[in-house]
Point group: C2
Chain length 343, copies 2
């Protein structure tokens, strides 16, 4: 048998590291309190002896795998790459691991969860739009919390962490109105989700309140992607040779696609010829060619609220459901809406 | 006890679905041959009865978890988002799941693998640069293959799937030379990895062969990010008020950052005042404002080669190590290098 065989025990590791067996156990147990130096000693000894504890066997008794599943609907929007990075960092700090599921077009979220349940995940985070009440029930029966990120689905029993999307839509409408805009276009996202609809509702309601006629507000589907933003702007220009005063991209990546095509293919200046705003505040929208005015989604706070609702540290305690309330975003002024006109 | 208790067995599901128990087992077993209609019947019945098989228990006997671990070094480069999406799609088609680890600055790849081993993953894919021979040995002792994606680390015993980076660097040098460039700058990436160094070597060697003096080739560190590309271009302009004839961004995202700052802050035209090329062919570089000439990394082929080396379907058979050979990329001509000058 080779040195470092799989039969090495925690006793051997403790002996080599000069620590207690309990320290070995804590070094490998997520969230344990252990001095960094002691942990290093244990890991060094474990490496030398080729020792690894068997999490799978221990999860059979604890019914906890220390794995959180994340189901991603759309990585074409860089917002979700930043979300994934943030969850990765925060879950790692909690010594949890991420099982990542990227949904393909033909797969329902229910089927994805069905495939993840056998791993006894400690929680499920969803950024996709569809989910059945039945599936949420199945997770809850197993003590597995489900949190929808950047959306909610009414009456499913799942928590939904989100920015205050209607309020954000209203803020964009106000900024456009203050700068003198009177005709508008929206580029909308996923029609199945609540996020795009809520932002559009806030935006349109505020414009109607200000006396803008509904006929002065057009809407184009942009599918939540850069390419969708390009196509929506082209459809808008084909529809009417003069652009509206202001365009609200329901997310930044669509606003960026629209800006590029309007400037490069139609020779329009932003904001002189057409104002543009987005939503999310992805780092890409802050770059030199865009300097996009937008509503910042508080990703860090949303991620922490999600982890609070998953209640990983004390799964048997009750959850603070206040974390399910919408979190306020805020307007980030850059260059794509001019300052308010003074009367 | 509630309807749909955890004690429901595959026998109950088979009875309700009107199929055999073996069909139930196949419906949940990754890679099994089963008619889509039969699988749907089983899943419907399983949902009604709230039945889920316990993969964790079965992995104890098979020593296979159907989980592949992916350790990502850098999601700031969109190339890796596309890589993650491609692995997600391909692994799902094989009914495998992805445990994703995003490395933080202070964490060594060895520690990440140490944390993943207890899950009895079926393979490890790495896109980060550091890895010890000892850790590769630990994985191999457990029958867990390790594949480095878009890099290799000499003498570790791990496979390294990659594009032919020196050849790609040479192609860019030739395109610049043919268009009449005589002075050059490189914006380099991660100094710890092989990828940036190999591209730079191919580029510089080809220029030296063409009689370009080494003093006409400057190099700036860009850290593999958009922001790094911006800073490298600024450093270049601070160093010498006249730009070089041609800039090679060792990856597209750095080339994009450089293009933006050179055009917007220094008023230079691309390619009239300065030629630019990248490497990777990320979709972002093909967009209207960039139309970047670059070398396409064959992501789909690289992902399939990685999966071949992981040998998930027949872990006891030998691997075709030809998949470890560099895969040729090819030059994608767009707008940032003019056509060859005719003499």
């Amino acid at each position: 048998m080779r040195e470092g065989s799989i039969r090495t025990t925690s006793f051997d590791v403790a002996a080599l590291a000069g620590v207690s067996q309990s320290a070995v156990s804590r070094a490998f147990k997520p969230g344990s309190s252990i001095a960094a130096e002691t942990r290093e000693k244990v890991l060094d000894a474990a490496r030398k002896l080729n020792y690894v504890p068997n999490s799978i066997a221990s999860s059979l008794t604890t019914h906890r795998s220390n794995i959180v599943a994340i189901i991603l609907g759309d990585l074409n929007n860089p917002f979700y790459t930043h979300v994934l990075q943030t969850f990765g960092r925060e879950l790692q700090a909690l010594n949890r691991h991420m099982l990542v599921f990227t949904l393909t077009e033909d797969m329902h979220t229910d089927d994805a969860i069905m495939q993840l349940l056998p791993y006894q995940v400690d929680g499920v985070i969803l950024t996709s739009a569809q989910l059945s009440t039945r599936m949420v029930g199945m997770c809850h029966d197993r003590g597995i919390p489900v949190v929808l990120f950047n959306r909610y689905i009414p009456n499913t029993g799942a928590f939904g962490v989100r920015c205050d999307n209607p309020a954000g839509g209203r803020q964009i409408a106000e900024a456009f109105l203050a700068a003198g805009a009177r005709t508008f276009a929206m580029i909308t996202g996923d029609p199945k989700g609540t996020t795009s609809a809520d932002r559009a509702t806030g935006f349109v309601d505020r414009l109607l309140d200000a006396g803008i006629p509904r006929s002065a507000i057009n809407s184009y589907e942009g599918g939540s992607s850069y390419e969708g933003g390009v196509e929506a702007a082209k459809a808008m220009m084909a529809n009417d040779a003069t652009p509206p005063d202001a365009i609200f991209g329901i997310n930044d990546i669509m606003a960026m696609g629209a800006m590029d095509v309007l400037r490069i293919e139609y020779g329009l200046r932003v904001p002189e010829d057409v104002m543009v705003a987005g939503f999310d505040d992805i780092p890409e929208g802050a770059r030199l060619p865009y300097r996009l005015t937008t509503v910042r989604q508080p990703i860090n706070r949303m991620v922490r609220a999600t982890l609070d609702l998953l209640n990983l540290e004390n799964p048997d305690s009750s959850v603070d459901i206040a974390s399910d309330l919408p979190i306020g975003g805020h307007l980030v002024w850059r260059n794509t809406i001019p300052p308010a006109k003074s009367e």
